[in-house]
């Protein structure tokens, strides 16, 4: 697995404790929705960046009010064919104003990167790729025309046609 951000492989500064028994005492940490709901005040009090990992059946609507307090939200793709997180990503970016790191985790494959970037993901926990940077470059250079206005702000064909 490699964490891709801005087209580069970067070190993960967060510890993912979402499936762990105990949450580490210090440092940037990613927790599950259950952990967040249970330990919300304590987590906020520790003063470290907090990330939240949501399963594909957990809509971000559940934490809409907490969005400004989170440094990272990780959305799971349990299978690459499960496309719920594409909607969740747009809601987080376009409706709930999430400005932090939006990370795709789980069955994250290069062939879907293009869609993920368009809906607002900026960090990709990519599975099994020999050269993720090269693959990332291919994925983002496949297309130069877009038809849908989404969170990434790329101008659509319709907007360019009418110079809006």
């Amino acid at each position: 697995m490699s964490l891709l951000k801005g087209g580069k492989v970067v070190a993960d500064t967060f510890v993912d404790a979402s499936a762990a028994e105990a949450i580490p005492e210090a440092g940037a940490v990613i927790v599950s929705l259950e952990q967040w709901q249970k330990h919300r005040d304590a987590l906020l009090a520790r003063g470290t960046p907090i990330g939240l990992r949501l399963h594909s059946d957990q809509s971000p609507e559940l934490i809409a009010d907490d969005v400004p307090k989170l440094a990272l939200i990780a959305l799971e793709f349990p299978k690459f064919r499960d496309g719920r997180a594409y909607s969740y990503a747009r809601l987080l970016r376009e409706r709930y104003g999430f400005k932090g790191e939006l990370r795709a985790v789980g069955d994250v494959l290069l062939e879907q990167l293009f869609f993920m970037l368009r809906v607002g993901f900026d960090a990709l926990d990519v599975q099994q790729s020999p050269d993720p940077v090269a693959a990332f470059q291919t994925a983002i250079s496949d297309f130069s025309v877009w038809y849908q206005p989404t969170a990434d702000g790329r101008p659509t064909a319709m907007q360019l046609r009418h110079h809006r």
């Binding site: 594909s56 969740y88 062939e111 297309f143 849908q148 009418h162």
Partner: protein, 554 residues
């Protein structure tokens, strides 16, 4: 018709190049078949029983003569010299090699044709009325909105991995020829109380193993909100549709489980938050697309009914064709002609490359170079001068494309079935051939009148059997093929699902059973009454008794 501008052309070329790279990665073993499958499906490439099948879009059933010639070229170069038009107004090639698929896709792209999203769990080809823009009963041209939806849906980053496939159809006429009620979203153009044209929106229709007629989710929608409203429907579906069971994943299941009122509430909530956002369609975009669908340069002509009547009196074959395959045009002096792909004993929807070229030539000479595909698997020349009808008929007749059976019993819808399809339980094509041979007397067919027979080789219902006046479903019973009949289905503005007639019949008994159903209809019908109306009036019992005998009828 719509022509690509610089953006569309670039997009489609980029997609063709991407597909070539994906195939290369698959052939090199860099992608597993499981990873490659959704990618090839979203480019219309299926793995069937004997070979790959490539399904190519005909957006809302409209294509140019140039595009038809490209279809012929692809049929000759990459297939066995023929193609099959489908109930989704697409064309399928049955014998494609994976290695050559990128070349076929590239050749199609050069004529502004794509196979993008002709399969996969995404928004499929947008379908419409084959007479759009020309029909006398039309309120407004649906193609403008189909094109808007086509562009909106292509590689939608949010909706490329929906729970299941998603089909949208649009009709601009109150007489629904696009079967909108059996689509995931059906759009019916109509006027509101203020006289403005907008859309009635239906949701949750569909066939397959759990058929439903679509329900009205919104009575009237302003055209500028078309995309925002469709997006709201799609978003709710994408988040809540079932992902655990492929057979329960279509939108119809969730709509019917939670009820239309609850679904509407969720969609309206979403729509209220987004309706005036970036996706709202500006008037200038509607105007831009509308300009492409400006009517062709019609001559100022008068209807020549009496003259044609005189010709029809002297030539019975011409008269049968005029009665069968020619319908009124909204412009005086013109007519709409259906080119039948249903000659007796032929495979419904199949056409050879040579005939594709011939139809393209006829379109250039007689119909402004444009051809339509109907969801009933025929071709249409929409803008023929009435004065040219007889000559056109002679040429179609010579090509065996003039069988005058539009809307009659041998105008059968038929899926590819077990002759090609990996999902099928039974062969559908031989049943269609048997029936069309048994009912090949056109005078008899015209006496019997309007009748639709729809045949599917399995419960996935690609042949729309639930909505045929007679539906025929192929089933497998311990290794043997049987055919289950349903009666009373319809896909028009009064859509209904057929009722099961009784136990499945072996292939050899099907034409005889159809004969008994027809005889029972003729016995019970009132003068001028169509089969479907007689059936709705008298019910299933007399038909049951005639096919299965009195004892098993109850």
């Amino acid at each position: 018709m719509y022509r690509y501008d610089e953006f569309d052309a670039k997009f489609v070329a980029e997609r063709a190049a991407q597909f070539r790279r994906q195939v290369k990665r698959r052939l090199a073993g860099e992608l597993t078949e499981d990873q490659f499958r959704p990618l090839r499906l979203m480019n219309g490439l299926y793995l069937q029983l004997h070979a790959y099948m490539l399904r190519v879009n005909v957006p809302y059933g409209t294509l140019s003569s140039k595009q038809m010639r490209t279809f012929a070229h692809v049929a000759r170069t990459y297939d066995k010299g023929f193609g099959h038009f489908t109930t989704r107004q697409n064309i399928q090639y049955n014998w494609i090699k994976l290695e050559e698929a990128p070349d076929a896709v590239k050749d199609l792209a050069s004529s502004e044709i794509t196979s993008i999203q002709s399969s996969g769990n995404c928004v499929r080809n947008i379908t419409s009325d084959q007479y759009a823009g020309c029909a006398k009963d039309e309120l407004a041209d649906p193609r403008i909105y189909c094109e808007l939806l086509r562009q909106y849906s292509f590689l939608h980053p949010e909706f490329s991995y929906l729970p299941r496939k998603f089909k949208i159809a649009v009709t601009g006429s109150p007489n629904d020829r696009a079967a909108v009620a059996v689509h995931d979203i059906g759009l019916r153009m109509h006027k509101n109380e203020q006289g403005e044209i907008g859309f009635e929106v239906l949701v949750g229709g569909g066939l397959g193993r759990t058929p439903y007629i679509g329900q009205t989710i919104r009575k009237w929608l302003h055209p500028s909100h078309l995309l925002t409203y469709v997006e709201a429907i799609l978003r709710v579906y994408n988040m809540l549709g079932r992902r655990d069971n492929i057979h329960k994943a279509r939108i119809k299941i969730i709509v019917n489980q939670m009820g239309i009122d609850k679904y509407r509430e969720l969609v309206d909530k979403e729509f209220e938050l987004t309706k005036n956002g970036q996706l709202k369609v500006p008037d200038e975009e509607i105007a831009r697309i509308k300009a492409y669908f400006a009517p062709p340069k019609y001559e100022t002509l008068k209807d020549i009914g009496p003259e044609l009547d005189a010709r029809r009196k002297t030539d019975r074959a011409f008269d049968r064709w005029m009665r069968g395959n020619v319908v009124e045009h909204k412009v005086p002096g013109y007519a709409i002609v259906t080119v039948s792909l249903k000659a007796p004993g032929r495979v419904p929807g199949d056409i050879t490359a040579d005939k594709m070229d011939a139809v393209a030539d006829l379109a250039d000479r007689y119909s402004f170079g444009e051809i339509r595909v109907s969801h009933r698997q025929n071709l249409v020349l929409t803008d023929v001068k009435q004065g040219d009808l007889e000559q056109l008929w002679r040429e179609l007749f010579a090509l065996e494309l003039a069988t005058p059976n539009l809307g009659l019993l041998s105008d059968i819808i038929c899926c590819p079935g077990l002759d090609y399809c990996a999902l099928a339980n039974a062969r559908a094509i031989p049943i269609a051939q048997d029936i069309s041979r048994a009912f090949s007397d056109i005078d008899e067919l015209q006496r019997i009148g309007n009748f639709t027979i729809n045949i599917s080789g399995c419960m996935n219902a690609c042949g729309h059997h639930h909505v045929g006046h007679i539906g025929i479903l192929g089933v497998d019973k311990r290794g043997e093929e049987f055919f289950q009949l349903t009666l009373g289905g319809s896909s028009d503005q009064n859509a209904s699902l057929g009722d099961r007639l009784g136990p499945g019949l072996p292939q050899a008994e099907v034409p005889g059973a159809i004969r008994k159903i027809v005889d029972t209809y003729l016995e019970h019908s009132e003068p001028g009454e169509r089969f479907i109306d007689t059936y709705r009036r008298v019910g299933i019992e007399p038909f049951k008794a005639s096919v299965y005998g009195a004892e098993t009828a109850h």
